[in-house]
């Protein structure tokens, strides 16, 4: 067990990514600290918040009810963010290490995870401030043990969930629907799940012997996780399970060679874990309009522009910021084969245009809220196709890091470099700048038209722009290829 820990530590510290990207580590560190502070503050003032929010005096009871939501949220958050600590098992399977050790290892290793730590940050201040000081010792002890066990249950359940949903991605939506229905029923007091949860939770805390229940739930979830890993530990198993769908996008062939490349890139997106998860997140993000298009915001052109930019380019920007890096594992093949650079760049341009158009059409119903949303979004669509795409591709010629297509997107910073941080500034900054310029002149409406017009002109001259990017690409290609080979 100790050796395994050491090996994993080496895997972490010796991964080229960790060693190279100091900046990302710093940014991540700051974000982490911020989260920690937030949770601490919420935990410490939980009683005050609950009193105000629910207008009750029994904070302990309210907290127990709130816990239901927290655990549900926690499970969903884990599903997206928590990475299951997998030691790549293959090299160890044939060594004289007991198999159960190899299986217990990832389970135990998941306990000191950042998310569990966050849960503690939330619970401990409340525990010390309210429970410890006002309730009997036995109750307090039961209380904290029960909560810890429930958090651990979530932790182990996540192993099952992750694997299940990575095999059946569509059932995620189903799960979300169920959660939404439960929350709705709860909120409207038709069937108050959180009440049941809260009162049973308190009942357990009051009766010392009942603490067996949460402990056994946690043990069962651990056992399930263990069994599950055991089933999946065979080398061969990890490679079967899916079959290709004969998805040919024949209509793309009319774009000639660029269409051929585009077709391959679409397969890249659909058949690999990381780009596919970017696609799923993008779909979720399209709902962001409901958050922005509200109240006074409708009259704020700047917010409309920003949201329009975001909605019509969400996938193109998210996926496109790693352009070329996506092909890093077979970049040499593109370089040595008969593929003209112009067509290569054009295929990516087409992908930008196509996905932006799809996002635009899907988010068009927002125009029902206000016709001005429609106008702004058309302008932003033109701008994104004409300018953002070309700018992004130009900047992406500075991508030199390898991307493993098979890894999940969440909390995965592989391929992220200074390029990704800097690229946001010109791409999103320019439209905002143009608009503010016109607003300063007192004719904000013209800012929107101008952006649309700039985009339109850029689309007309797309071949010229693509040629410019191609030239840049030719200058950079050796450096890119060299970087991609160092994985």
């Amino acid at each position: 067990m100790k050796d395994l820990l050491i090996h994993q530590w080496k895997e972490k510290t010796r991964s080229p990514f960790w060693q190279k990207n100091i900046w990302i580590n710093i940014v991540l560190g700051i974000v982490g600290l911020y989260l920690i502070l937030n949770f601490l503050v919420i935990g410490f003032f939980a009683d005050v918040i609950l009193k105000k929010l629910l207008a009750t005096t029994d904070v302990v009871e309210a907290f127990a009810r709130g816990l239901f939501y927290y655990l549900a949220f926690d499970l969903i958050l884990r599903f997206f963010v928590q990475q299951i600590p997998t030691l790549s098992m293959q090299p160890y399977l044939t060594l004289p290490i007991r198999k159960s050790t190899l299986l217990h290892y990832p389970l135990m290793k998941s306990i000191p995870d950042f998310i569990n730590f966050l849960a503690l940050l939330l619970l401990v201040p409340f525990f010390i401030k309210i429970i410890c000081t006002t309730k009997p010792a036995l109750f307090s002890l039961n209380w904290i043990i029960t909560i810890c066990m429930l958090v651990l249950t979530n932790n182990f359940l996540n192993f099952l969930l992750k694997k299940y949903f990575s095999k059946h991605p569509l059932s995620i939506l189903f799960l979300f629907a169920i959660v939404a229905v439960i929350i709705y029923l709860d909120m409207s007091n038709i069937w108050s799940c959180s009440n049941y949860f809260g009162s049973s939770f308190l009942a357990i805390a009051k009766t010392p012997l009942l603490v067996i229940i949460p402990v056994s739930i946690a043990s069962i979830s651990y056992y399930l996780g263990y069994q599950f890993l055991k089933l999946n530990a065979y080398v061969e198993d990890s490679q079967t399970g899916h079959r290709m769908n004969p998805s040919e996008f024949t209509f793309l062939t009319r774009f000639g060679e660029a269409g051929n490349l585009l077709q391959t890139e679409i397969k890249l997106i659909l058949r690999n874990k990381r780009p596919k998860s970017i696609m799923l997140i993008s779909i979720l993000f399209l709902a962001y309009g409901f958050m922005f298009y509200r109240g006074k915001n409708i009259d704020n052109d700047l917010i409309l522009i920003f949201t329009g930019f975001f909605l019509t380019s969400i996938f193109a920007i998210q996926y496109g910021q790693f352009s070329f890096s996506w092909e890093s594992s077979f970049f040499d093949s593109y370089m040595a084969n008969k593929i003209s650079v112009f067509d290569y760049i054009q295929s990516k341009y087409l992908l930008f245009a196509l996905t932006s158009l799809i996002c635009f059409v899907v988010t068009l119903p927002y125009a029902l809220i206000s016709y001005r949303i429609g106008i702004v979004n058309v302008a932003m669509l033109l701008y994104n196709i004409g300018i953002s795409s070309v700018l992004s591709l130009y900047i992406c010629t500075y991508n030199t890091s390898y991307i493993d297509l098979g890894r999940s997107q969440f909390m995965n910073y592989q391929g992220t470099g200074v390029t990704q941080f800097l690229s946001v500034i010109p791409i999103a900054g320019f439209p905002v700048g143009v608009f503010l310029g016109f607003k300063y002149l007192g004719i904000p409406q013209f800012g929107v038209y101008t952006l649309g017009l700039i985009g339109l002109v850029a689309i007309v001259y797309k071949n010229l722009l693509i040629t410019l990017v191609s030239r840049q690409f030719l200058k950079r290609k050796y450096k890119m290829a060299m970087g991609f080979r160092q994985n």
Partner: protein
């Protein structure tokens, strides 16, 4: 670090490169394919610098390593993709596969993605893709590695036949017997230098074996 003053490969030659790991074989092939930049000097193909034009890609087929394969395509999709680049349609590719059916196992048509294939089968897909477009120049890096014995024999015969049909071929290999069997010219590279450049005759195999044996003797007595 590769140091070559001048090296000319002539039309219709079948050239084999041999040398220890790290000698510079793959570097040489990558330079010819314009995958890495020369620090000084240049590579020309048909009198045109490879770094300055794409013309050589029309008539050059190559397979160096897995980096030449698109992992998430099925072998058939990959070959069709390469075929389309050379204006070949699906029936053309199918005809090609039928002609070379001895070389590919059922795995090729099972619908598995390339990333799921064994090393040997990946190698086969790469080699087939390299010869698919009927190139005038064929460049392969260790084509015999991971192949089953039958496939090795098939590939030897195929390379010989292609060469007789006028294809200029450049391969690297660790299998001295294979190389001396089929190549009509051998380059021996060591530490970035071309030590020997000879046309093959009956004694070549013996000479090469002697050279490498001497090398391992030296390191054993060290």
């Amino acid at each position: 670090m590769l140091k070559i003053d001048d090296l000319t490969l002539n039309r219709d030659e079948l050239v084999g490169i041999v040398g220890n790991n790290g000698a510079g074989k793959t570097t040489l092939l990558s330079l010819i394919l314009d995958l890495i930049k020369t620090s000084t000097g240049f590579v020309q193909s048909k009198d045109l610098a490879v770094s300055g034009s794409d013309h050589w890609k029309d008539y050059t087929g190559s397979y160096l390593n897995e980096g030449f394969l698109i992992p998430f395509l099925t072998p058939i999709e990959f070959l069709e993709f390469i075929g389309k680049l050379h204006n070949m349609n699906t029936p053309d590719v199918n005809r090609f596969l039928n002609e070379n059916s001895h070389f590919h196992a059922d795995d090729m048509t099972s619908g598995k993605y390339i990333r799921e294939l064994s090393a040997g089968n990946k190698n086969k897909v790469g080699i087939l893709a390299a010869i698919l477009s009927k190139p005038e120049i064929l460049i392969l890096d260790e084509p015999f590695s991971n192949l089953d014995p039958g496939s090795q024999l098939w590939l030897k015969a195929k390379l010989k036949k292609l060469n007789e049909e006028g294809v200029t071929i450049l391969i690297s290999s660790h299998d001295l017997r294979h190389v001396t069997d089929i190549c009509n010219r051998i380059l021996l590279i060591d530490n970035g230098l071309i030590i020997k450049d000879k046309n093959t005759n009956t004694e070549t195999l013996g000479e090469l074996e002697e050279y490498f044996a001497a090398g391992s003797d030296r390191s054993m007595t060290d």
